[in-house]
């Protein structure tokens, strides 16, 4: 039911863990659905650009929730904040060679988590 890519990222997730003093944090999902995700980002300014220098995740959820978390960190790392905001749920699903239809909604939260973390970062620098 899961693609090889999903299994790969589920069994050996990339960038799993926490960042000590993150510049932004996003928590998405809820315990009723069974999937909860926390994304940490560290931003570095290079010239005018704000680059996602480091990104980590903690996820409680099914295999596709863990795989999408792992994938989003790969997709976002090294990108500018502007580029990262353009990453969609579909991009994540495609990069994983597809998700089972039933998992497209509930467990495909990683893009939302990333966007929340970026919003949190932007809120922090405004204040």
């Amino acid at each position: 039911m899961y693609s090889k890519k999903v299994i790969e990222h589920f069994t050996k997730p990339h960038n799993q863990g926490t960042i000590k003093s993150p510049d932004g944090v996003g928590i998405v999902g809820n315990p009723v659905c069974g999937d909860l995700m926390k994304i940490y980002i560290k931003i570095k300014k290079e010239k005018k650009n704000e680059i996602i220098k480091d990104i980590k995740f903690e996820t409680l959820g099914c295999a596709s929730a863990i795989a999408t978390s792992s994938m989003i960190t790969d997709l976002a790392k090294g990108k500018t904040v502007g580029e990262a905001l353009k990453i969609t749920r579909n991009d994540v699903a495609e990069a994983l060679e597809g998700l089972p239809p039933i998992k497209m909604h509930c467990s495909n939260l990683a893009a939302d988590g990333l966007h929340e973390a970026i919003k949190d970062y932007q809120k922090r620098i405004r204040n």
Partner: protein, 397 residues
């Protein structure tokens, strides 16, 4: 890789002896049991032999056994057949009492009858230990109650329901109320004598008792007013139309006859189960057993491991050759937390973190030891991945 099968509540392998006895009824004795000629008579003799085997096991008469395609059909026939028969005689809307943690084939049959405005229904919640309180059923009885349906053993948490106590209460209170039990998970391990239990209807399925899939039975007490729900021929006393599944029925009979000398087997499974429970609760921090430890099927273990999501755990175990489940195989297509665990008061995150391990007659201690090792590793790994996300979520809310 040696595969370890710990999902015997989902289904069991067909016992080799059962399979041997079924074999002649595919290509050699292939007759339709309703035909008058020699081929038909051979088939019908085999069916009647199996009917006697099932009836003997239930302490019933052969005429009280209806063969079906399995427990789902048996349960549908029992519930809908009783309601249909009721409306043949009366106009008033009847009331049915069942439990909140029945298998979906009972629960959805009742819910749909309710939606169609054909019945009123009450869904009794079990106590926190996963056992129904007889008093709760008594209190729910109304003047128009016609049927009570309570499962014998819960399929997810393995808790045993007081079937005999309920039937005694019903007989004292109002002996017209019909009592049905879904005994699918009980047949292997518990006394299923219908007279001792005091039930009017009882469902079972062959593939849970080392028989084939696609065949089951419904015990229907002599003289009970029940109607067919499927149109066609007059098979099974006109209660279940359709050509009989002769090899399947033969297999069901042999499988049932094989259960009787099973006392030592039950003791072995029970001690393996207790060993598994003891070690997991002691060696895996923050683990919890769902459902009563005592009023429990000898083959069932159901844990919650907070900080771990059940499906992830199943996949990790599977990668190491272990087949277990989160709950009912029939609900794995949904993302809803288990209705059984919610009904005993589990929080959604506890319900999502469940693991059901169901042992069988071929399970060994070596397999259990290996499983505990893999379980510990997998839970460690998944808890590392989930970190503090759950507590962080609650801090935020």
């Amino acid at each position: 890789m040696h595969r370890i099968y710990l999902d015997n509540a989902a289904t069991t392998p067909v016992d080799k002896k059962v399979f041997e006895e079924m074999k002649p009824y595919f290509s050699d004795n292939f007759g339709n049991a309703s035909s008058i000629h020699n081929f038909g008579r051979n088939a019908s003799e085999a069916v009647e032999k199996a009917r006697k085997q099932v009836a003997d096991f239930f302490g019933a008469d052969s005429g009280e056994i209806i063969f079906t395609s399995g427990a789902t059909e048996s349960n549908n026939l029992a519930i809908k057949g009783i309601v249909k028969a009721h409306y043949k005689k009366e106009k008033a809307k009847p009331h049915i009492i069942t439990t909140a943690f029945e298998h979906h084939c009972v629960l959805n049959a009742v819910k749909n009858l309710e939606k169609e405005n054909l019945i009123e229904a009450t869904y009794i919640k079990p106590e926190r230990d996963g056992v129904i309180n007889i008093l709760d059923i008594k209190k729910a009885i109304r003047p128009n109650t016609i049927l009570v349906s309570v499962m014998y053993v819960n399929n997810e948490i393995g808790t045993v329901q007081p079937i005999k106590g309920i039937s005694q209460m019903l007989k004292k209170y109002n002996s017209n109320i019909i009592f049905h039990t879904d005994a699918t998970q009980a047949v292997n391990y518990f006394d299923c004598n219908v007279k001792k239990l005091g039930v009017d209807l009882m469902s079972m399925s062959a593939h849970k008792i080392y028989g084939p899939k696609g065949v089951g039975a419904l015990y229907v007490k002599k003289g009970l007013n029940i109607a067919k729900i499927q149109d066609g021929g007059e098979q099974e006393r006109g209660l279940r139309a359709g050509t009989l599944n002769v090899p399947g029925i033969v297999g069901l009979g042999v499988a049932m006859a094989g259960i009787r000398n099973y006392e030592s087997g039950i003791r072995k499974i029970k001690s393996l189960r207790d060993y598994l429970i003891k070690r997991v609760l002691r060696e895996i921090p923050n683990s919890k057993l769902n459902g009563s430890k005592i009023k429990r099927s000898p083959n069932n273990v159901n844990f919650s491991f907070p900080g771990v999501e059940g499906e992830s755990l199943i996949m990790m175990l599977d990668a190491d050759g272990i087949s277990a489940s989160t709950g009912s195989a029939c609900s794995s297509g949904t993302l809803e937390p288990s209705h059984v665990l919610l009904s005993i008061g589990s929080k959604p995150e506890e319900a999502h973190s469940s693991l059901r391990i169901t042992l069988g007659k071929y399970t060994t201690k070596k397999e259990i030891d290996y499983t505990i090792g893999v379980l510990k590793e997998s839970i460690n790994k998944l808890r590392k991945i989930s970190g503090n996300v759950l507590s962080d979520y609650y801090k935020l809310k």
